[in-house]
């Protein structure tokens, strides 16, 4: 801080800041609160904020009645699977582009980015038909593959921006000392690359977890992840606000916590390194 700020100014901004923050966060808070109400209390007017009969029955009900755990596991498998598969494909590519760049590296990177900008709806019809013919509709494998491909450009880009910051001189020195390529990767590169890989992993799990175009269009009952499961509440079932809230809270809690940890990486990952 270069400049002292008067306590009064600070207090005023504290007040405004908390008020605005609270308003933006409110829908999430309201969902969590409603999830602990009975259905009657949930739609009561005037709304009950804190002093109501707290109950966990919605959570029990959602789990027992609608096979919640299955959809949760689908989300876990699909988001984790597509991210790990993406990393396996992307790490060598990003490594090569960062440490052995050629004249065409930039073009390849930008071309990869351009595939991400292809609207999904432009390839919906063929993907749907190919999946139907291959028996991949409503399967975890099919969805994992689609999400891997959809997020691969982001994974390559994020890794590339991290790898590029690793000083090449260190690798040179290791090579001079007689380290083989394998040793160079295991002992020199990996320790320096782990933070970047970890943030890439985190951000892509978040993106895959919340992906709601392919998951809604390519799944039905069996492989439906939480995005599709929650969508089923849009029918008259939507009137069960307490249950909707309980299901929603469970669906967003894990990813919200991951997201809070990765807020810094989010900027870099989603702007493809254009803003750091």
């Amino acid at each position: 801080m270069a400049r002292a700020v008067s306590t009064r100014t600070r207090l005023v901004f504290t007040l405004i800041g908390w008020l605005v923050g609270f308003l933006i966060f409110f829908p999430i808070l309201w969902t969590v609160l409603t999830s602990f109400k009975s259905e009657g209390t949930a739609i009561a007017t005037p709304p009950q904020f804190l002093f109501f009969q707290w109950t966990a029955e919605n959570y029990i009900e959602v789990n027992s009645r609608s096979d919640y755990l299955k959809h949760f596991m689908n989300s876990v498998v699909i988001s984790l699977g597509s991210t790990l598969l993406g990393l396996v494909i992307a790490i060598p590519a990003a490594w090569a582009m960062a440490f052995a760049p050629t004249k065409r590296t930039k073009d390849v990177l930008l071309w990869m980015l351009s595939t991400k900008m292809l609207p999904a709806v432009g390839v919906l019809v063929p993907i749907y038909l190919l999946f139907r013919d291959a028996g991949l509709l409503d399967t975890r494998i099919g969805l994992t593959f689609v999400l891997t491909m959809a997020n691969l450009p982001i994974i390559v880009w994020m890794l590339y921006t991290y790898f590029r910051e690793i000083p090449g001189d260190i690798l040179e020195a290791a090579r001079m000392d007689g380290a083989s390529l394998a040793k160079e990767i295991i002992y020199v590169l990996t320790p320096m690359a782990v933070p970047g890989i970890a943030s890439t992993l985190l951000l892509n799990i978040i993106l895959a977890w919340n992906e709601a175009f392919w998951t809604l269009n390519l799944t039905a009952a069996k492989a439906a992840p939480l995005t599709a499961f929650i969508a089923s509440y849009s029918s008259p079932e939507g009137l069960f606000w307490a249950k909707l809230s309980a299901a929603s809270t469970l669906a967003i809690a894990p990813i919200l916590i991951l997201g809070w940890f990765s807020q810094r990486q989010l900027v870099r990952g989603l702007t493809f390194g254009a803003v750091k």
């Binding site: 494909i89 993907i127 939480l226 809230s245």
Partner: protein
């Protein structure tokens, strides 16, 4: 210096990613292009025949397409104005030192991590419901007539929900840009007698210009594909009041089984997105130098 050997292995290491992405992009896109020239409906198998540009003519002259295009522009434009405008204000606010800044920041970015189906349903039911919703209660408390959000202003309601999801993104990126601003420059201007507003207009805003451009372009790419929020709240209705180009293609493909028409629509969507993508890619490409 990369040796010949490393260069060869580098090429090998890039191959899987490049080949897979090439297949993922080229094969379905070529198929879409091909289907768009056919009369092809899944309900009439075996009746496929060459149709030339007929599907495009039907799609582009369909009144629903014009509405869809307009709705898409209104949705993207509305969300951009709210999220970028709000994002600048939020970034300026969060840049001030105050107590509990870190916690407020976490609260502000939280909506970005909420899956689209959840935010759409929570807003539609628990906040915007004309009878039991929280907004209705607030309106009545102030003696106003509660608004039937999805009945009276369906598209605007969706704009609000999507803006809530994207405000954190704009805030976070603009804040990052703001914090990289050299404070000395601001202080020098202040000493020269520049007021808060002229400091903002002449120093802060130009510094943020790049970040704002990036936010606008990236949000546009994602917003052109908004789908789940429409599906779970209005199903594109009432009528076609909330049908976007993306949603229109979905309806033609998976509800009307019109593969040819949907493919033509898909190609139109690709062309629209490409117009934005060209600018974004240029901007990012410059940054790679």
């Amino acid at each position: 210096m990369a040796t010949l050997q490393t260069r060869a292995s580098a090429r090998l290491m890039m191959t899987p990613a490049v080949v897979l992405l090439l297949l993922w992009m080229a094969v379905p896109l070529a198929m879409t292009l091909y289907f768009s020239m056919l009369r092809y409906n899944l309900l009439m198998p075996g009746m496929e025949e060459w149709a030339g540009f007929l599907n495009y003519r039907f799609f582009l002259t369909d009144p629903a397409f014009f509405t869809g295009l307009l709705n898409t522009l209104l949705l993207v434009g509305g969300v951009l104005v709210i999220s970028v405008g709000g994002g600048i204000l939020m970034a300026l606010l969060l840049d001030q030192p105050f107590f509990g800044q870190g916690i407020v920041r976490l609260m502000v970015i939280a909506p970005f991590f909420v899956m689209p189906t959840v935010s759409a349903l929570v807003w539609k039911n628990m906040l915007m419901h004309p009878v039991n919703g929280l907004f209705a209660w607030i309106a009545r408390t102030f003696g106003l007539q509660p608004m039937d959000w999805f009945g009276e202003a369906p598209l605007f309601s969706i704009v609000l929900i999507v803006s809530w999801q994207w405000l954190p993104f704009a805030t976070l990126i603009l804040l990052t840009a703001l914090q990289s601003l050299d404070t000395e420059q601001k202080e020098a201007a202040e000493m020269d007698g520049a007021g808060a507003i002229s400091r903002f207009v002449y120093i802060v805003l130009p510094h943020m210009a790049r970040a704002i451009t990036v936010v606008v372009l990236i949000e546009t790419i994602f917003l052109l594909s908004v789908f789940a929020e429409i599906l779970v709240t209005t199903n594109g209705g009432p009528g076609v009041q909330t049908t976007t180009v993306t949603y229109l293609v979905y309806v033609q493909a998976l509800l009307q089984f019109d593969v040819g028409g949907a493919s033509a629509g898909g190609i139109v969507a690709v062309v629209l997105a490409n117009i934005v993508a060209i600018f974004l890619i240029r901007l990012i490409g410059k940054n790679l130098e």
